[in-house]
Amino acid sequence: MSLGTFLKSTIDGANALRTGFGITFRHYAEQQLKTKPVDTIQYPEERREQYPRTRWRHVLTRYDNGLEKCIGCSLCAGACPARCIYVQAAENTDEQRFSPGERYAAKYEINMLRCIFCGFCQDACPTGAIVLRKDFELSDYTREDFLYTKEMFLEAAPMETMIPASTIGAMNRENAAK
């Protein structure tokens, strides 16, 4: 290597390193002087922005009058690529009315370990009963805890409605006993 090429490569290298470190130090200065917003988020205290379409934990919604939207048609179970939804329908009676139609979901279970959050259940549901919402903190301790039941999915009923959620639970247990 001649002296000329050696000097040239040294100078080029030094210039390149100066450019590179310049960028790093500029970022460092920006962070320290807070001239640019910080991209990292201090997670449990701060939360990311979530968007209206966010597909996370399922929710079974209700109509404004407190009746459940779910009619127990099992189309969500049919559309599920992971086959993680189980629906058992039962007939509504005039004394015990859960949904506007003839039938309601007596049992509604999702195995959250199998669920891939593709949102096909939401797309398939003809009444818009099952929707995927923003609650993403789904960790738990045992496998059994991931078998979510209807009571866990069901939206809280409006205050003035007729059926308290506890009755539904009792009703479900009766049905299961039969």
Binding site: A16, G20, D39, Y51, T54, L75, G78, P81, A124, L132
Partner: protein, 411 residues
């Protein structure tokens, strides 16, 4: 050294240790991976070394084989899209599109212009995101850690765009036969525009950090050479092939989804080494940005899905007042559609290379066979050719440069 190497090559020992003559046994077999951090997943490379020179590099794959192709045979065409996300998990939109275009080819349909352009836009967003992960991890392997943070900052913005439109960041399943599952939400194009405007600054930064850096150049220039003939013989595609100087980009060669209406060029390399692959991918990022920009400008109005109710479910508001719509809806979500008997393969350009699904239909609602042409798998075959005769540390640079995703290789 060169002569000695040649002798070893002709008289090569089996990497599995068969037929080893103790007197000639001057090489050492070592195992790189499957838990090695620079093997991008669970790739195991068995290296046969003479000193520190590589005599042979044999990739061993299959550690994340999950039988995705097989499980696709048990899903209707619409549901099978969710499986494709999980193959090349860094470019989910493009995998979805690869499967979808093949199915649409079977059915003989194509979505309306807006659907097509929205697909192109999503695919280019995904290509950028994938290339950003590539540059981040590649440079991390080579010891340049700073790049990782800056690349992931930008990728976060792209994933936000995906989340806004589809609701999830990495497994959208948003491109389905017949169109897309939903149109862009309000404010999406503005966000995309904002990204397109701010991205050049960040990309220039990444280039400035690396392209002239003497350490990076030492590690990459002249490393991992592969000739054009070997590339073509091994079925190498994508940026690795273009870095060898072959002008083959499926977007130009066989335009799909209306790529012919966009103005972009295919960057080519010259020396076919790791540095050239870096340069080609960087130039591709500029081109992807260009395409996204043109998409935003040209985006036509209108429907995103075809109106055939036998393939795409009816819009939700029709369910309330049309019995026919309800019947179509139930039929599609349970049984799906029946493409005619036949087979189809549509190639696409994924960030890794040519991707495509070979689908055989027997006339039922499920694919008889769905086979993916995995670009990473083909490109990985070239690893041995690229590494032989080089130093062991170069294996890391080469694996990084061919940009593999093990989820796609093993499927």
């Amino acid at each position: 050294m060169a002569i000695e190497l040649q002798e070893l090559n002709t008289n090569a020992l089996n990497a599995q240790g068969i037929q080893v003559d103790a007197l000639d046994d001057t090489t050492m077999v070592i195992n790189m991976g499957p838990q090695h951090p620079s093997t991008h997943g669970v790739l195991r490379v068995v290296l046969e070394l003479d000193g520190e020179i590589i005599v042979r590099a044999t990739p061993h794959i299959g550690y994340v084989h999950t039988g995705i192709e097989k499980s696709m045979e048990y899903q209707t065409y619409m549901k099978a899209v969710t499986n494709t996300d999980r193959m090349d998990y860094l470019s989910a939109h493009i995998n979805n599109a690869a499967f979808t275009l093949s199915v649409e080819n079977l059915l003989g349909i194509a979505p309306p212009p807006r659907g097509q352009m929205l697909r192109v836009m999503l695919m280019e967003i995904q290509r950028l995101a994938s290339h950003l992960v590539w540059i981040a991890t590649h440079c991390l392997d080579l010891g340049a850690m700073t790049v990782y943070f800056y690349a992931f900052q930008q990728r976060e913005k792209l994933l936000d765009l995906t989340e806004m439109i589809s609701g999830v960041r990495m497994m959208p399943s948003w491109i389905v036969p017949g169109g897309l599952r939903g149109d862009a939400p309000e404010g999406w194009f503005e966000r995309a525009k904002e990204f397109v405007d701010n991205f050049p600054e960040a990309l220039e930064e990444l280039e400035n950090l690396l392209s002239a850096n003497p350490i990076f150049r030492e590690r990459t220039q002249g490393v991992g050479y592969i000739s054009v003939d070997e590339c073509l013989g091994l079925g190498v595609s994508g940026s690795t092939l273009r870095a060898a100087g072959v002008d083959y980009d499926v977007r130009k060669a066989k335009p799909y989804s209306g790529y012919e209406q966009f103005d972009f060029y295919v960057p080519l390399g010259e020396f076919s080494d790791v540095y050239d692959r870096f340069r080609v991918r960087m130039a591709e990022m500029w081109q992807s940005r260009e395409i996204i920009k043109q998409c935003i400008e040209k985006m036509p109005e209108g429907a995103i899905n075809i109106s055939d109710r036998k393939i795409v479910p009816p819009p939700r508001k029709e369910l309330d007042n049309s019995m026919e719509a309800v019947i179509h809806h139930f039929k599609l979500w349970t049984e799906g559609f029946h493409p005619p008997v036949g087979e189809s393969y549509v190639p696409l350009e994924s960030p890794k290379g040519e991707i495509g699904f070979y689908i055989v239909s027997d006339g039922t609602n499920r694919p008889y066979r769905a086979h993916m042409r995995p670009p990473s798998f083909m490109n990985l075959q070239a690893l041995s050719t690229m590494c032989v005769g080089r130093l062991m540390a170069d294996v890391v640079a080469v694996i990084g440069s061919i940009d593999i995703v093990l989820g796609e290789i093993d499927r």
